[in-house]
Each structure stands twice: as structure tokens, then as C-alpha cells.
């Protein structure tokens, strides 16, 4: 959370070197900030509220006479939130499941997207539509049949049960196919002349060039499956194979009103690894930006 709340990064003066170009650049930059900052304030306010609430006492949350900030920061909300369930185990499971899904998906979508983008074969359009069926069909309508399948496979109440329905991704295949088709054909042709086969071209030419898309897909896949709730709840029983959102459900899903302070503390804990992951990975954008310029 620290990176998000650090105002220093924002206000850090751009290193001006006095030239006209740089001054103009500085101006342009600040103009953008003027435009973006109000929007940012709008977007970030729910997060500010989450963090502030996670540090309040229960009484302060809705008391109209209490200030916006807690009188005394209640850091104890965090350990108290973590005590409702074995969050350590949940965290490890979330990492394993999300990581497992991501790796499987990256493999399947890369192969499939290449076939759709660059190979010609009979039934291509029909097959592509079949891939899209996965995103069109409401996921809740698959749960029952998939529950039976997972049980037949003997993996009910285990981590693989949380992974297998998401190994193939029509979504990712579509996304990557679009990116592959953006790669200028001449690059592939040149590689072929150098004696590269299809897989070689895929590995050496296409994948490096679509890195931003791969990164974007990874971020989206991780964020999506990190927050899966209904499916894990249905197919797991033991604490040892459950994931973070189920822990969060303990604080939120009830008929007595939410446990606001601890729910918000747990939310911060659940979201933090994702935010860290995002900050690290989106920097890769800038790297691949330079690579892409090689054309």
C-alpha cells in the first residue's frame, strides 16, 4: 500500500535540463497531471475509505460525529482479522492455484493463438467460435456438471479441482490471437528464411513482440482467479485446500451485518499481494516497449 500512498513520487520534479524541448515536455507533463489528478482522487477514494476503515474502531465506522480518520489507528484489527481463519494456509493455496492456472493458461493459449493467427487449416472459424463459447456460456450454468466431473476424476476437495476448469482460456486465446496478427508478417518470413520452424518462429519472433499483451493477460488472469469464490466454496471442504476469498467470506457473508473494520483489514491483506504483483509486472510494459521499437 505504501507505494500507492506515497505522494513523493507524484510531486517529484522532473529533471529539467533547460532546453526548450524539455521545458515543453515538462509543461505537457504537468498539464496531464492537472487532468488526471481529480480523476485519480475520484478513483482512489474507495481505497482510501477501505484503508481508513480498516484502522478504525467499530463505533467510529458509522458515527457521524467521529472524524474521517480514526482517533487512534487500530492496527490490532489486522491480527484480529487474520485470526478468523488460517489465512497463512489460504495465502499459500491462493498462490498455488492462481500460479497453476496462469502457467497452464499461458501454455495453452500461446499454442492455440498461434494456430489461429498464423496457420491455415480446415474448420478454423468454427473452432474459433467454439473457443469463444467458453466466455459466452454463463459460468454458473457449468458448476453442476463440472462438480460431477471433478468428483468423477477423484479430485474433489483438492487444489487441482480449483485449477482444471480454467486450464483452457477462450479469452486468452482470443486476446493473444489479436496480438499475434499485429506482428508484421515480414519478421516471420525473415526468420523462416533463416531456417526457423513454426515453433522457433513462435518462440523467437512472436512471443517477445507480444510481451505487453502477455503481461496484460497474466495480470488479468491472476486478478480474476485470485478472487474466485463460488467454485472454490463448492468443491473444497478442508481448510488445507481453501483460498483467501473464502476467508474474506467469513467476515462478509452473514445475516447480521458485516464486520466492517476486520473485513476491510482482510481486504487490504488480500489485495496487497496483487497490488505488489501489478506494480512489478506493469514495469515490464516499459521494457517491452523498447523491444517493440526494434522494427
Amino acid at each position: 500500500m505504501a507505494t500507492l500512498q506515497d505522494p513523493l513520487e507524484l510531486s517529484a520534479p522532473a529533471t529539467s535540463r533547460g532546453t526548450l524541448a524539455h521545458m515543453r515536455a515538462t509543461l505537457r507533463r504537468n498539464w496531464l497531471h492537472v487532468l488526471l489528478l481529480p480523476l485519480l482522487a475520484l478513483w482512489a477514494s474507495p481505497l482510501v475509505w477501505i484503508v481508513v476503515t480498516s484502522l478504525k474502531t467499530r463505533v467510529e465506522v458509522f458515527d457521524p460525529n467521529a472524524g474521517f480518520l480514526p482517533a487512534i489507528a487500530q492496527w490490532s484489527n489486522y491480527p484480529a482479522a487474520m485470526a478468523v481463519a488460517p489465512f497463512g494456509t489460504y495465502l499459500v493455496n491462493s498462490v498455488l492455484v492462481t500460479g497453476g492456472i496462469l502457467i497452464c493458461e499461458l501454455v495453452t493459449i500461446t499454442l492455440a493463438a498461434y494456430a489461429f493467427a498464423r496457420l491455415s487449416f480446415p474448420g478454423k472459424n468454427i473452432l474459433f467460435t467454439l473457443f469463444l463459447l467458453q466466455i459466452m456460456f454463463p459460468i454458473y450454468a457449468t458448476f453442476l456438471t463440472n462438480f460431477v466431473t471433478v468428483r468423477e476424476l477423484g479430485i474433489l476437495n483438492s487444489l487441482p479441482a480449483l485449477i482444471v476448469p480454467f486450464v483452457a482460456s477462450g479469452y486468452g486465446t482470443f486476446m493473444l490471437r489479436q496480438a499475434f496478427r499485429q506482428v508484421p508478417t515480414e519478421l516471420a518470413d525473415a526468420a523462416r528464411l533463416d531456417g526457423c520452424g513454426h515453433l522457433g518462429i513462435l518462440w523467437h519472433v512472436y512471443l517477445p513482440l507480444v510481451k505487453p499483451t502477455l503481461v496484460a493477460f497474466s495480470i488479468i488472469a491472476v486478478v480474476t482467479h485470485w478472487n474466485d469464490y463460488m467454485w472454490p466454496l463448492l468443491v473444497t471442504n478442508s481448510e488445507s485446500v481453501r483460498t483467501l476469498p473464502i476467508g474474506l467470506g467469513l467476515l462478509a457473508k452473514s445475516d447480521s451485518g458485516a464486520d466492517w473494520t476486520r473485513l476491510m483489514a482482510a481486504t487490504v491483506v488480500v489485495v496487497s499481494p496483487l497490488l505488489l504483483f501489478f506494480v512489478i509486472f506493469q514495469r515490464r510494459f516499459v521494457d517491452s516497449f523498447m523491444h517493440a521499437g526494434l522494427k
Binding site: R58, A66, L153, N157, P160, L250, D255, G257
Partner: protein, 432 residues
């Protein structure tokens, strides 16, 4: 659903995905065998947010330690709805948990699936019929047979913002509907035509539950086990009273369950109908003193039960049913109930639990808890009809549309009753 009949299809497909299964099988832990212990699963929801998971886990390990022949595994299954879905899905594949904790309204649903063990004989041989509060026990009885032991009952009650009452010069909680309207008027605050505080809010999302209480206050139980009676004059009269409160500008036409609890804590409404299960949360989170009162009466006092009993699966061996019974019996024993009630704010189900010294001390400290207990004397089961989920939706929609002013109470309730009864008939035909 008939999963059994399709197993052959699945197995064939199983070959197809067999490779995948083999690849991941290494990760899935096998089940422990070789033990003469009877193993039981217990699926439970979290009705009160917070520490329930920890409390239940502690109770289970205490039970397991005391019973060397039985091992219970507690499985948190989400909300009441989630729990019901998880149990029913497992029932569909013939693999239900040994025991579970649904909302009491689900009784007919599970009976329709022929899923429940009849525990009347066991209960009669025990002190269940003597020591359990009759209103609570009634929620588990169908056709004179007992299908579960009440574990965490709740009812709606009227919460009052004591500071607001004091400021308005009101010294006692309203006892009748007429008084309720008067008090709500006195507590409503408007400044320059803009509303600052409602006199009363009826928690949305479960307002059909509270509506049944209003029907019961008009001496009508708005259902029998095979039909609903929402179109009776008593029910129409109750809804007309709600409309009157909305038109008097003392009550919002709609709210949400979460939102209404927040509204009360934030002083947006001075009185609130909500579950007794919310007592601890509201008491600890409100910046003012919270009082609890009976829901006001009209012809009579009346309330209906939320919360849930522990139910036992029918399709298991006698040894398993016996062990399940031992477990359910232990969970509803005097000491356990006394502790559970004090930890959560749910009502203890046994008379003897209320007589324990710890409970008496607690009631000294939190006299509000006694109100719910006393009101429970007037409480019956909530909407125990087949397909209660859908019936609830029909009723809620009728209430919402009436309060929003788009339809007349009698028309809306007639429509809801007709739709509900058609659905109930469909399910009953299906069952026979």
C-alpha cells in the same frame, strides 16, 4: 439431479480427461483410511460475521477430544444459501455430509429430497421435548416428526436508538402498531423538506421474514405446509399498515439488509427491524445506546424464527446416524448452548441453558438479550413450504412494488399468493 443415471457417460469422458487427471493426481491428497472412528462431516454457514469459524472449530475439537469413537470435520460453507446449495449438490451425487446447519425454512426442501433422518424416537428417549423451548423445536417438526435439533435460532426484533428516543421525549418503546406509527412520526426529522432521519426502517432483503411476523401479529400464520395465505385479509391489512407508514413519510419504501444495519448505526434511522443475530454487532458498533424491544403487536404479539437447526442425513449407516445424533445432541447441550449464545448473540435453545450461572450473569450485563428470549414465546417457524426460495422472491417483489406505490396491496398479495401456490403445487406433484 440424476447424476447416477449419467455416470456411464461421464466415465467414458473420464477416459478423455484421464490424462489430465493423472497429471494432477499427485497433488491431491488421499483420504486417510484405517481407523475405527466414525467420521462425520458438519457443514455450517456463518450467520454472524466474525469469529464463528474459530468458535465452531474450537467446539469441534472439544467434541472430538471427548468422543474417541467419533471424529467430526467442520466445513464452513458460506452463507445460509451457499450451505444449502453445497449440501444439495452433494446430495445429488449421493454423497451428502452427515450433518449440516441450514436455515429452518429449508425443512420442506430437504424433506422433498428425502434427505433427513427422523430423530423423533431418539429425542423422545432423551429430554429434548422437555428441555428445548417449544417455539424453537417446532421449527424442526413436520407431520409430528422431528427432523433436526435447533441450534442457533433468531427472530426479528425492534432495535431502538435510545439517545434519539430520549431527545424526542419518548420514555418507552412502542407496544402496538398505532404506537409504533406515532413514535416513528415523532422520531422522523426533516429539515427544509429534506429527510435527516427516518423514524423506522424495516431491514430489506429479509423484509418478507419481517412481514410474516406482521401477519402473525394479525393472528395469521400465512402458510400451511402445502400452500401460502398471503391473500388473506390479515396479510393485506398488515401490508396496508406498511403502506401507511411509507405514506406518512416515516419509513423508507425499500432498503437492503446490510444497508439498513449501517443506517441504524449511522443514525439515519431511529428504529430498525433486524435479526436478533445482529444484536452483538449493533450494540458494539453503535455510537449510542441500543435498546431492544418486542416487535409491537396488533391483535397479538407475533414473531417467526430465522436461524437454523442441525439436520442429520438419512442415507447413512445406523452407526453414522447414531454418531451424528451424539454430535447434534452435544452441540445443543446445556453448557455448549449457554456458551454459544453468549459468544454469538444467538438464543440458547434449552431452558436449562438460560438457568446456568454464566447465562444469568450475562443477562445482568446485557438485558437486551432477554427481550428476544421472551419474544420467542410467540414465535413460530418461518415459511416452511416447498420451494420457499421462490415463494420468498414472489413475496418480496410484491412488497417492494406495493411500497413503491406501483400496485395496490391486495392485488400484489393475491398475485404473489397465486404464483407461489402454483409453484408449490408443481413441486408437490413432482414429489409424488
Amino acid at each position: 439431479m440424476s447424476v447416477n443415471s449419467t455416470f456411464s457417460h461421464i466415465s467414458r469422458r473420464g477416459v478423455l480427461v484421464g490424462g489430465a487427471a493423472a497429471a494432477v493426481a499427485g497433488l491431491s491428497g488421499g483420504r486417510a483410511f484405517a481407523s475405527d472412528k466414525v467420521k462425520l462431516q458438519f457443514m455450517y454457514p456463518v450467520g454472524v460475521s466474525g469469529d464463528i469459524n474459530r468458535l465452531v472449530t474450537a467446539m469441534i475439537s472439544q467434541f472430538n477430544a471427548a468422543h474417541e469413537k467419533i471424529e467430526v470435520e467442520a466445513i464452513y460453507a458460506g452463507s445460509y444459501d451457499n450451505t444449502e446449495q453445497k449440501v444439495i449438490t452433494a446430495l445429488g451425487v449421493g454423497d451428502p455430509p452427515a450433518t449440516w446447519l441450514p436455515i429452518n425454512s429449508a425443512l420442506q426442501t430437504f424433506l422433498g429430497l428425502d434427505a433427513l433422518a427422523d430423530i423423533t424416537a431418539k429425542a423422545k428417549a432423551d429430554d429434548i421435548y422437555q428441555d428445548f423451548l417449544p417455539g424453537f423445536l417446532e421449527t424442526c417438526i413436520s407431520d409430528g416428526k422431528l427432523y433436526g435439533l435447533p441450534f442457533q435460532p433468531s427472530t426479528p426484533v425492534l432495535y431502538l436508538n435510545k439517545d434519539a428516543l430520549k431527545a424526542a421525549g419518548i420514555t418507552k418503546a412502542p407496544v402496538t402498531w398505532t404506537e409504533l406509527l406515532d413514535v416513528a412520526k415523532a422520531l422522523t426529522i426533516r429539515e427544509n423538506g429534506e429527510l435527516k432521519r427516518w423514524g423506522l426502517t424495516i431491514g430489506g432483503g429479509w423484509h418478507d421474514w419481517i412481514f410474516e411476523c406482521y401477519c402473525r401479529q394479525n393472528a395469521l400464520v400465512p402458510w400451511t405446509k402445502d400452500k401460502v395465505l398471503f391473500d388473506k385479509p390479515e396479510a393485506v391489512d398488515a401490508l396496508e399498515f406498511w403502506v401507511k407508514m411509507v405514506q406518512a413519510g416515516v419509513m423508507p419504501p425499500a432498503s437492503t439488509w446490510e444497508g439498513s444495519a449501517n443506517d441504524f448505526m449511522a443514525g439515519r434511522t431511529a428504529m430498525l427491524y433486524h435479526s436478533t443475530g445482529s444484536l452483538t454487532n449493533l450494540r458494539k458498533s453503535s455510537p449510542f445506546e441500543v435498546d431492544v424491544a418486542f416487535m409491537p403487536k396488533n391483535k397479538t404479539f407475533g414473531a417467526c424464527q430465522g436461524g437454523g437447526p442441525i439436520m442429520i442425513a438419512r442415507k447413512q449407516t445406523d452407526a453414522q446416524i447414531e454418531a451424528s445424533w451424539t454430535f447434534a445432541r452435544w452441540m445443543t447441550s446445556t453448557q455448549v448452548q449457554s456458551q454459544w449464545s453468549r459468544d454469538t448473540g444467538y438464543l440458547a435453545v434449552r431452558k436449562s441453558a438460560w438457568e446456568t450461572p454464566e447465562m444469568k450473569a450475562y443477562l445482568e450485563k446485557v438485558p437486551q438479550a432477554r427481550v428476544a428470549l421472551e419474544q420467542a414465546a410467540y414465535a413460530g417457524a418461518f415459511l416452511q413450504v416447498p420451494g420457499y426460495h421462490k415463494v420468498r422472491e414472489y413475496l418480496k417483489s410484491a412488497l417492494d412494488r406495493t411500497l413503491a406505490g406501483s400496485v395496490k396491496p391486495d392485488v400484489a398479495l393475491k398475485e404473489a399468493a397465486d404464483n407461489s401456490n402454483r409453484e408449490i403445487q408443481r413441486l408437490l406433484r413432482r414429489r409424488s
